[in-house]
């Protein structure tokens, strides 16, 4: 696909410069590096800081969720590439308000190991207490008995929202970590790709799919899915997204929030076509939907396809989901 870009090498820094210029009252960069982005009012005294990080190309993930009620900071890497240890460390340091910092991000090797090194450094050099929670919501990436090795996809947005809401109430680091874990224990995702995307520095599509093919369970960087199949109807696709989730977590009779997410290229219209079917299926399982999120929450550049995330609610998760949040890409008042 054609890109609107100057020099591909500058794709990310120019994007970040534009983003910082667009939201000066809300965001700032630290350590003289546009890749280290925090809330303009950071550090918030006495509040646990929540830091995410990962590759670019997934807007609004990650940095789009930096703001009141969600993330305090984000270390931003190149397209689909990890930020550096230094960037993670500087971001961590900048959001520490004395109550410690939670590193909350997807289970990708580079991110995991760099965040670990950054946490060590923050502890060693600045005595900042850092806790870590990995997002592992993608049921397609490993069976239930190896659930901790799953990769993180759109479910991380729920974790940002829930943990961010509790942190805003000045809960302790242990509490914020615990609620993030509790949220993720109740979060499952599954995606389907109908077409690839193009990383600007690479210039060609990340993978190829036949005109009549789709890839079930594909990852957000084009990592292989569960299987490749013939392109199906919206209803059939939705069924393939919800079934593995129903098989993985007991939802019967419960209340859930759902996120139907376009990977970028798929228009919102088609998400609503799928949502119609989702309600039918959930109704059959006696599951009721609270606060559906339908839109682009975690993308892969212009990839065609969609993902479904389900968050099984209890009263505490519901309360925190309802809490207001305000970031450049996510604005939620009190009303449903």
């Amino acid at each position: 696909m054609k890109k609107i870009s100057n020099n591909p090498e500058n794709y990310v820094p120019e994007m970040l410069a534009g983003l910082l210029a667009a939201h000066p009252g809300r965001l700032k960069s630290v350590a003289g590096d546009v890749h280290c982005i925090v809330r303009a009012d950071s550090p918030v005294e006495g509040k646990v800081g929540i830091v995410a990080g990962g590759g670019s190309g997934h807007l609004p993930v990650f940095l789009g969720y930096v703001g009141r009620g969600m993330l305090d900071g984000c270390a931003v890497g190149d397209v689909f590439a990890s930020p550096t240890i230094d960037q993670m460390y500087e971001t961590t340091k900048a959001v520490d308000g004395g109550a410690g910092v939670l590193h909350l991000f997807g289970n990708y090797g580079g991110d995991v190991m760099n965040f670990a090194a950054a946490a060590d450094q923050a502890d060693m050099e600045d005595s900042i207490q850092v806790a870590t929670v990995l997002v592992v919501d993608d049921v397609a990436s490993a069976p239930a008995d190896r659930a901790s090795s799953r990769r993180g996809v759109a479910g991380m947005v729920y974790a940002f929202k829930i943990a961010g809401a509790l942190a805003e109430e000045k809960a302790s680091l242990a509490q914020v970590k615990a609620i993030a874990e509790h949220c993720l224990a109740n979060t499952r995702s599954m995606g389907v790709a109908l077409g690839p995307c193009t990383v600007p520095q690479v210039g060609k599509p990340t993978f190829t799919l036949g005109d009549d093919e789709m890839e079930i369970g594909m990852g957000i960087h084009g990592e292989q899915g569960v299987r490749r199949g013939k392109l199906q109807t919206a209803d059939e696709i939705l069924d393939q997204l919800i079934q593995p989730i129903l098989d993985d977590i007991a939802l019967g009779g419960s209340e859930v929030s759902v996120m139907l997410n376009s990977l970028g290229g798929t228009p919102l219209e088609e998400l609503y076509i799928m949502y119609r079917r989702l309600l039918e299926v959930l109704n059959r399982h006696n599951v009721t939907v609270y606060r559906p999120y339908i839109g682009r929450f975690a993308t892969s550049m212009e990839m065609v396809g969609a993902s479904l995330t389900v968050l099984k609610l209890d009263s505490e998760l519901k309360r925190l989901l309802d809490a207001p949040a305000s970031t450049p890409f996510f604005d939620q008042g009190q009303n449903v």
Binding site: Y108, G109, G110, M113, N114, A116, A142, Q201, G219, E223
Partner: protein, 217 residues
């Protein structure tokens, strides 16, 4: 006489490794595309360009601090799984060799062992999980065996050639393993039959060192 390497030789070795790995970046990228996301070529390029740059600048005089700094440089320039781990490996080897202006071959083996231990701690993988560990572990074993056979005055070239052969063997063997860690693990059983790109990168490194040392003889 005990064989030793000094800071200057270590730096030269690192330069040789950098040149050799950059020459292999495309085939490493291809292996990573099969099993992961195909960015290992870019990691290698960015990381070793930064290493080459650091080598032309001012590095500490002692081997340990020099390696430590090169490790930090690599990780920050190439912040991927491989970049983080390879940087960790250099940093931990460096910690093991702190203050040393020369290093013996057994010390070398110990430093690499320290790196391997650190990788296991950081990466949570085990030998046999189809990762770079599967090239490093046999290389250490082979170094120790070569040293045990021939005594302290064996040439560095001989010991490192043994390591290189073992590392390549280990890398080749990863094709028979099912991945337990990282991106490749998401493929489950489909990962069997494909060689681990990180292990191959390690094998190239040992071979580059052996080549360089043999050429010095």
């Amino acid at each position: 006489m005990t064989t030793t390497l000094d800071t200057k030789q270590i730096k030269a070795l690192m330069g040789a490794v950098a040149d050799d790995l950059m020459a292999h970046k495309d085939d490493l990228a291809a292996l990573d595309a099969e099993l992961g996301d195909g960015d290992l070529g870019r990691t290698i390029e960015r990381g070793f360009i930064a290493i080459k740059e650091a080598l032309t600048g001012t590095l500490p005089d002692d081997i340990g601090r020099a390696l430590f700094q090169l490790g930090k440089t690599f990780s920050n320039a190439a912040p991927s799984s491989f970049g983080a781990l390879y940087g960790t490996a250099l940093m931990k080897s460096g910690t093991a060799l702190k203050d040393k202006l020369t290093v013996t071959l057994p010390e070398c083996a110990d430093a690499i062992q320290a790196a391997l231990d650190a990788l296991i701690e950081r990466g949570k993988a085990q030998v046999g999980d189809k990762t770079m560990l599967d090239a490093i572990a046999p290389a250490i074993t082979a170094m120790r065996a070569a040293l045990a056979d021939s005594g302290d005055d064996v040439s560095a070239a001989v010991v490192l050639r043994a390591a290189a052969v073992a590392a390549q063997h280990g890398a080749d063997e990863t094709a028979n393993l099912q991945s337990k860690i990282g991106r490749a693990s998401w493929q489950g059983e489909r990962s069997t039959g494909k060689k681990d790109p990180g292990a191959q990168a390690i094998a190239y490194m040992f071979a580059a060192v052996a080549d360089y040392l043999e050429a010095q003889l």
